[in-house]
Symmetry: C2
Subunit: 105 residues, 2 copies
DNA sequence: ATCATATACAACCAAATGGTTGTCAAATAT
DNA sequence: ATATTTGACAACCATTTGGTTGTATATGAT
């Protein structure tokens, strides 16, 4: 298996999506992120590591704290892909209509 | 680990994203899907199984062929989530501005 | 100076993922 | 009638995932 580190992987996990929503409102340290999440702080740290590797967050040390800040520009990649596939999907009947129109004449 | 079967999981894998784009243009059978993909037909079948379980495609038998058809309405869930997080992320500075404005007076 | 907090690091675990090959049955083509 | 194609089913495999616990270390609070 290949370790995939991209936006799609970043948002695939529900816990990571919660973390992203939290961080989108402002920077937090690891303890704060884990506050109302029912998993160990170590599990949070692992998700943070993945999000960092996916380029979705940036870190900056502040004393003993590790402050995480969201970096959501990459989400455009997701929007673009979704838009493209939905567009193609919506167009799929136009082709059929064209075919039926040409078949009728 | 919990087996997650949702849109986010469906689009997490690059091969599945290619399959979705292909199927968004019209129905195809498993062999056709695998045509220019460099993996075994069994691997394709597994991806199809996952996409089916995620509710992203529907199947209908046609003789010995298994025709797959995209069902992309669920992609709205992705769009909604992305929109929400980006919105919050864009708003994050407004709060800061408000704070600075109130601190100044 | 001591205690508590924040997190890093490592080892471990079960299950999921993404792939492979082999066999078999049914439908289609020659 | 026979050969080919389509795909289902199973077993197998290495790696990743998402979690755990335990230990250690640096920073901050009392």
């Amino acid at each position: 298996m290949i370790e995939r580190r991209d936006v799609f992987q970043a948002i695939a996990d529900p816990t990571r999506r919660i973390i992203i929503i939290k961080l989108s409102q402002g920077p937090l340290n690891i303890t704060q992120i884990g506050e109302d999440l029912d998993i160990s702080k170590q599990a949070i740290a692992k998700h943070i590591k993945i999000l960092k590797e996916c380029g979705m967050i940036v870190m900056n040390q502040k004393g003993r704290e590790q402050v995480c800040e969201a970096q959501l520009t990459q989400l455009d990649e997701v929007t673009d892909w979704v838009t493209q596939s939905r567009k193609l999907w919506n167009q799929r009947f136009e082709k059929l209509d064209q075919f039926l129109a040409s078949a009728k004449k």
